[in-house]
């Protein structure tokens, strides 16, 4: 069996010193697939995303996270990134004075050997290709990272970075929140452009809306720090229709697979 997958096993985690927010998450995203992770506010979705990326504010109390069969628990966030993991943040920070172009060139070179830095032409060709894919103006690459960006622009920047850095696995943390339909389509187009046999993604969202544009191979539902059920894309529609209480009841009564 192929080892190419992003795997979360029985993951328990909390804010350092607090109580567990994740209470045994099990989830596998094989390479080549896009999965959706849905759940209400407070269900632990965003915590899961940050824990996977290695946010030092959290501590893992049990379980494991594996990239292609290799545990990342002992890895720093940058090592996880270089191992192929990418998190599109729900709230990307601003870094004043650092242009998108400079930043992405550094980030790309961090993945390469010191004597094998990316050529200037190769880099700009790649960057401009990604900018075009997202229907963005070329001047954006000279703007400072998220400085003065609207919410929508920040989300678009997260996808731009994804396209340039070409991770093996991406986690998109509510990339759709705060976007109008046009921006949503652009972002979805970017994610779809990244799809391929060597790319897996976990798309975290409240709403089914995004999944009209990024059609998932699987849908997982999270509640109270666990994945309570999984299904195909129809599950997302049904959930949108009937609500989270419905699915919780279904799971409790045994009507939906736990």
């Amino acid at each position: 069996m192929s080892e190419n997958r992003l795997e979360i096993r029985n993951l328990h985690a909390r804010i350092a010193g607090g109580v567990d927010i994740l209470k045994g998450v099990d989830l596998t995203v094989p390479a080549g697939e896009v999965h959706a992770l849905m759940g209400q506010n407070g269900s632990g979705k965003s915590t899961l995303a940050k824990v996977m990326a290695g946010d030092p504010a959290y501590e893992i109390t049990d379980g494991d996270i594996l990239i292609d069969g290799e545990s990342v628990l002992e890895m720093e966030p940058d090592e996880r990134a270089r191992a192929g993991l990418y998190l599109a943040f729900q709230y990307p920070v601003e870094v004043p004075g650092v242009s998108i172009a400079n930043f992405l060139r550094l980030a790309l070179n961090a993945r390469r050997d010191e004597d094998d830095e990316i050529g200037v032409m190769e880099f700009y060709t790649k960057l401009q290709g990604a900018v075009k894919e997202l229907d963005w103006d070329e001047s954006i690459i000279e703007r400072n990272l998220h400085e003065g960006f609207s919410g929508g622009e920040k989300k678009r920047s997260e996808i731009l970075q994804l396209l340039v850095l070409e991770p093996k696995y991406a986690i998109l943390d509510e990339t759709d929140s705060g976007l109008d339909v046009d921006a949503l389509k652009v972002v979805a187009h970017g994610v779809n452009a990244a799809r391929g046999d060597a790319f897996g993604a976990l798309v975290i969202t409240h709403y089914q809306r995004l999944l009209n544009y990024i059609v998932p191979d699987r849908v997982h539902v999270m509640a109270e720090g666990r994945v309570i059920t999984s299904g195909d894309k129809e599950l997302a529609m049904e959930l949108d229709d009937k609500g989270y209480d419905w699915i919780k009841n279904e799971v409790a009564s045994g009507a939906a697979p736990a």
Binding site: A53, G54, D55, P56, A57, E76, P77, D78, R80, A81, R82, Y86, L87, F89, P92, V93, V95, P96, G97, V98, F103, L106, A107, A110, R111, N144, L145, Q161, L165
Partner: protein, 477 residues
């Protein structure tokens, strides 16, 4: 230091020494001179006699010493109690400029390692460390020099400037920073040596920056350098002093005076990045007189040293004069950077802008100390001050001392100050993109400095970045 003795019993020494010829094309004399320690009239007489100066300069030096002794050291600002005048050589002839160091092997390993990591060629390293006197850019310098001479531009070390252009020199010398201005200016006036003398005639625009770098072999690095820059009406010049490599000095006291005169509609820019070794007290007076319609810009980078006190100033004397001060300070562990700016608006429609960025680390302290003064009658004067401090950890400190004095109702004055601490979320974000923690921190710092660094010529900006990275090492918790 207030009770520094006026007399020393020992006679001055003339020390015979075999010259190392490969480094000494410029200095045919077979002897070099080193003054006794301490600050006395005898030392000053010897300095002046040794340089073969005119009587008026000796008189000026002696008078300055009197003023210094009367004034005494200032009692405000950073702690200078480690400074002991009795233990300082106030004059060492240039090839022996760095005190007792005259061999490459005597330069501490850490300084040599830093040079290597900055990628500085060995010949240049030796000049910077004070053990060499020849530098490979000399050819470049000579061709530029011919060009400048055709335009009537004078660019010499200050001692040569005095010898070759005495009348011009005398007309402007100490008119911007007189010896009674402050204690350290008085000390400098008494014992000055080295620095640059620049004269740009009316209407001449010097396109290539005048770099003190080129004069390194001609005695430019000095403990008490004295630079005098005169830019005539409608002329333009950019002077660049120093470089980002750490300037190694076994002596511990540096006090320069920089005087600039920007005549009507002149455009002058003075850029400096100093990176003194960590034992140095660096107390510098930098001032420009800015006449009608002229524009003066100071770009000031302060790294290294134990204590730096430096407040580049612009006296806006004519209508429409414009002054700008952009500064960067990096206070590493145990260092105190007390830097800022002074802007005096003494004429209508004058404008000024001050941007100050400081970074503090470990037990380092950075202070912004600034004065904006708007005199009565300076109608519609505009001034904007922005000072931003970045703390890299919980132990470093920053202070802001803004002084604003306004005697004119129509003035517009803005002041904005921010203090921020290196942000964990930013570091996590950058790391999640593959940057190691130290790279992430260095990138945030570079971004913080960017508004000032972008004003630097490219090669200096690149060196500054490398230098910041070196300074940041060991910041990762």
């Amino acid at each position: 230091m207030a009770d520094a003795p006026m007399q020393h019993p020992d006679a001055d020494k003339l020390v015979g020494m075999e010259h190392e010829k490969q480094y000494d094309f410029q200095l045919p004399e077979e002897y070099f001179y080193k003054s006794e320690k301490g600050l006395t009239p005898e030392v000053i007489e010897k300095i002046s006699a040794f340089k073969g100066e005119p009587q008026w300069m000796l008189d000026f030096r002696l008078k300055s010493l009197e003023i210094a002794m009367k004034k005494g050291a200032p009692t405000w600002g950073p702690d200078l109690s480690g400074l002991d005048f009795d233990d300082i050589y106030f004059y060492v002839r240039p090839n022996e400029e760095q005190g007792t160091t005259n061999s490459w092997d005597d330069i501490p390993e850490e300084v040599r390692a830093t040079y290597q990591r900055l990628g500085i060629p060995e010949a240049e390293q030796k000049v910077l460390a004070g053990v060499g006197a020849q530098y490979e850019s000399e050819m470049v310098y000579h061709s530029l020099k011919e060009e400048w001479e055709k335009q009537g531009v004078i660019f010499l070390d200050t001692d040569t400037g005095l010898q070759e252009h005495e009348e011009l020199f005398k007309e402007y010398f100490a008119t911007v920073v007189p010896p009674n201005d402050n204690y350290y200016a008085a000390v400098n006036s008494a014992v000055w040596s080295g620095g640059s003398f620049v004269y740009v005639p009316k209407g001449v625009e010097v396109d290539v920056p005048l770099q003190a770098y080129f004069l390194l072999n001609a005695q430019n690095i000095g403990q008490f350098e004295r630079t005098l820059i005169i830019v005539e009406e409608g002329a333009k010049a950019h002077y660049i002093e120093g470089c980002t490599a750490p300037t190694y000095a076994s002596d511990s006291f540096h006090s320069g005076v920089i005087e600039i005169i920007a005549k009507d509609n002149a455009n002058v820019r003075y850029s400096t990045i100093q990176n003194w070794s960590h034992n140095v007290y660096n107390l510098v007076t930098q001032r420009a007189l800015v006449h009608s319609g002229a524009s003066m810009g100071w770009l000031d980078g302060n790294l290294g040293s134990k204590v730096t006190m430096k407040y580049p100033s612009c006296y806006l004397l004519g209508p429409g004069a414009h002054g700008e001060v952009l500064s960067i300070a990096f206070a590493g562990d145990g260092q105190h950077q007390d830097a800022g700016a002074k802007v005096i608006h003494a004429a209508p429609n004058t404008s000024s802008s001050v941007v100050s960025k400081s970074i503090s680390k470990g037990e380092g302290t950075s202070s912004y100390r600034g004065l904006v003064q708007i005199h009565e009658g300076a109608e519609n004067a505009k001034s904007n001050v922005e000072c931003d401090a970045l703390l890299l950890d919980d132990t470093s400190k920053t202070n802001t001392y803004p002084y604003i004095e306004i005697d004119e109702k129509s003035a517009h004055v803005g002041h904005e100050a921010t203090v921020s601490k290196l942000n964990e979320e930013q570091i996590f974000y950058l790391m999640s993109r593959g940057l190691a923690e130290d790279e992430a921190m260095a990138l945030i710092v570079r971004g913080f400095l960017e508004p000032v660094a972008k004003e630097l010529p490219l090669e200096y900006a690149v060196e500054l970045n490398r230098l910041i990275e070196l300074e940041m090492e060991g910041s990762v918790g």
